[in-house]
C-alpha cells in the first residue's frame, strides 16, 4: 500500500455532481450540516463548494474536539501541572491550543513538564517509568478516542497504578446536534453524520433526529465521492419528504457500532449533568466524567481545580462561526489577527477547525488568484 494522490473514480464524481444538480430544487435553499471536523477539512480540501449548486449551503458543525473545548478547561488542566511533581501529557493536537497564559507548548518552554503522547497507553507507561511523579493525561475527543481512555483506565485500576490520573474532557456528539437543533437562530435541513465516530456509536443513536426532529441524516465517508453521495442521499430524502438515518459508509460503519468500545465506555464514564462547549454554551448531558468507581484516577477529584471560566476575546466570533451563523471570513479577526500561524480562536488551531480549513484552502487560493491577477 502506498499513498496515491488522486481522487477515486473521477467519472463517478462527475456523474454524482450532476445527480445533485438534478435533485436540488432551484426554488429551495438547502442548509446541510456536516457534523464532523474531518468532513469540514475534506470539504474545503476537495473544493466541494465549487462543485455544488449555489443553493446547497454546507454548514460546518461542532465536531472538532479541540475547537469546542472552552479555554477555561485548558487553564484548569495546566493549573494542575503547575505542581512540579506533575507531568502533563496530551495528544499533539492539544499542544498549541491557547490557554489564558499560553498553550501547553508555551508552558513547556517556561519549564513545565509537558509531553506529547500518541496513545493514552503511553501516559500509563510514563507513570510506571516515573513512580516518583504523577502523570496526568489531558483526555480529549469524541467517541473515537474515549474508548481508548476507558480501556487505559480499566488497566490502571486493575494494576492499581496510583500515580496516574485522567483530566477528562471527552464529549459526545449527539447532545451537540440536539443543542444545534434547539438553537433558535439555526435552520438545518439535514445532516452529514460523522464517519469514524459512528464506527464506535453505530447509527442507532441518530434515530431520534430522524424521528423526533424530522431531519434526514446520512453517515458518510471522507472521500469526495462519499460526501457527494451522502448529499445525493439527503436530497432524495428531502425531495420525498422523508427523514431517515442512512449509512453511506457501510463499508466501515456497522449499524450497531463497536460493542466492546461502548461497554468499556459505560464501565468507566458517566454523563456530566452539563458541560460548557465553546461557542455553544452549556449543554446538558453532553460530556463524560469518570464514574465513582474510578474516582481515584480522576484528576478533578485528586486535585483542587480552580474551575476557570474564560470568555472568548470579544472581537473573536468563534461562537457564531461554530454555530454556522457566520462564515469564517466574516469574523473580524479572520486572516489578519487570527491565522493558523498565530491563532486567537481555537477554530484556527486545529486543521479540522473550520477557520483553519477555510484559511488554508479558500483564503490562500483567493490570495493567490489576486496576486496572479495583479501581475497579469
Amino acid at each position: 500500500m502506498k499513498f496515491v494522490d488522486e481522487f477515486r473514480d473521477p467519472e463517478l464524481i462527475h456523474k454524482t455532481a450532476e445527480e445533485i444538480q438534478r435533485l436540488a430544487d432551484p426554488a429551495r435553499h438547502y442548509r446541510l450540516m456536516e457534523v464532523c471536523g474531518g468532513h469540514t477539512h475534506a470539504i474545503y480540501r476537495f473544493g466541494l463548494k465549487d462543485i455544488l449548486p449555489s443553493n446547497i449551503e454546507l454548514i460546518h458543525g461542532p465536531g472538532c474536539p479541540v475547537c469546542v473545548l472552552p479555554m477555561g478547561r485548558i487553564d484548569d488542566g495546566l493549573s494542575i501541572a503547575q505542581n512540579s511533581n506533575v507531568i502533563f501529557t496530551a495528544f499533539g493536537d492539544m499542544m498549541r491550543v491557547p490557554g489564558t497564559h499560553g498553550s501547553p507548548l508555551e508552558h513547556k518552554a517556561r519549564g513545565m513538564d509537558v509531553r506529547i503522547v500518541y496513545s493514552p497507553a503511553d501516559a500509563i507507561k510514563l507513570a510506571k517509568a516515573n513512580p516518583e511523579k504523577h502523570v496526568m493525561f489531558f483526555a480529549i475527543g469524541f467517541e473515537t478516542t474515549a474508548p481508548s481512555t476507558a480501556l487505559v483506565l480499566q488497566r490502571a485500576k486493575k494494576e492499581n497504578l496510583r500515580n496516574f490520573s485522567i483530566f477528562c474532557n471527552h464529549v459526545t456528539i449527539i447532545p451537540a446536534i440536539r443543542a444545534i437543533l434547539d438553537s433558535p437562530d439555526m435552520r438545518i435541513d439535514g445532516f452529514i453524520g460523522p464517519g469514524h465516530v459512528s464506527t464506535v456509536i453505530g447509527c442507532r443513536p441518530y434515530e431520534w433526529i430522524a424521528k423526533n426532529e424530522r431531519k434526514p441524516i446520512v453517515v458518510s465517508g471522507f472521500e469526495p465521492l462519499d460526501l457527494l453521495q451522502s448529499i445525493v442521499m439527503l436530497l432524495r430524502q428531502l425531495r420525498a419528504g422523508e427523514s431517515r438515518v442512512e449509512n453511506q459508509y457501510k463499508r466501515v460503519v456497522p449499524w450497531e457500532g463497536n460493542i466492546a468500545a461502548l461497554r468499556a465506555m459505560s464501565d468507566v464514564f458517566e454523563l456530566r449533568p452539563y458541560f460548557e462547549w465553546r461557542g455553544l454554551g452549556f449543554i446538558s448531558q453532553s460530556a463524560l466524567r469518570l464514574s465513582e468507581e474510578y474516582a481515584e484516577w480522576d484528576s478533578e477529584r485528586l486535585f483542587a481545580i480552580p474551575g476557570i471560566r474564560v470568555t472568548d476575546p470579544k472581537a473573536a466570533q468563534c461562537g457564531e462561526v461554530l454555530k454556522g451563523v457566520l462564515k469564517p471570513a466574516q469574523c473580524k479577526l479572520f486572516g489578519n489577527e487570527c491565522t493558523p500561524e498565530h491563532p486567537i480562536g481555537a477554530l484556527m488551531v486545529s486543521s479540522e477547525g473550520s477557520c483553519a480549513a477555510y484559511y488554508n484552502y479558500e483564503h490562500r487560493k483567493a490570495a493567490l488568484l489576486t496576486s496572479l491577477g495583479a501581475s497579469a
Partner: protein
C-alpha cells in the same frame, strides 16, 4: 484524532492478550486490539486505528482508500508521525518513544 489510520496486522504479540504489530505504509508498530474482541482479528486483517487502538476491521481496499484520503487531506505526515510515536517493535528502551514535545501533531 478523528481521522483513523489504516494498518495491516502482521503479528499477534505472543504473551500479550491484545497487542499486535501493524504495518502502516512500511512502518511497523505495536497497537492494541482490545476493542476488536468480538471480531477476532488475525494476521493479514486490516484495521482502522485511533490513538494506538484498533477500532474496526476493514477491507484492504478500504484501507488503501483511507490512506489516499489522509494523503489528499495533507494529513498523511501527521498520521505517520502518530504511528511512529506508537510502541516500536524492538523495545530496548520502552519509553524512548514518548516525545519530549518536539512539535504538535497538526502542522
Amino acid at each position: 484524532m478523528c481521522l483513523a489510520i489504516p494498518g495491516k496486522i502482521v503479528e499477534l504479540v505472543p504473551a500479550s492478550e491484545t497487542l499486535a504489530v501493524v504495518d502502516v505504509v512500511g512502518v511497523r508498530r505495536r497497537i492494541d486490539l482490545a476493542l476488536l474482541e468480538n471480531e477476532h482479528p488475525i494476521v493479514g486483517d486490516w484495521v482502522l486505528i485511533h490513538v494506538g487502538f484498533a477500532m474496526s476491521k476493514i477491507s484492504e481496499q478500504d484501507a488503501t482508500e483511507q490512506m489516499n484520503t489522509l494523503a489528499m487531506l495533507g494529513e498523511a505526515e501527521a498520521a505517520m508521525q502518530e504511528v511512529r510515536g506508537y510502541d516500536s517493535v524492538a523495545e530496548a528502551q520502552p519509553d524512548a518513544h514518548v516525545s519530549q514535545g518536539t512539535g504538535p501533531r497538526n502542522e
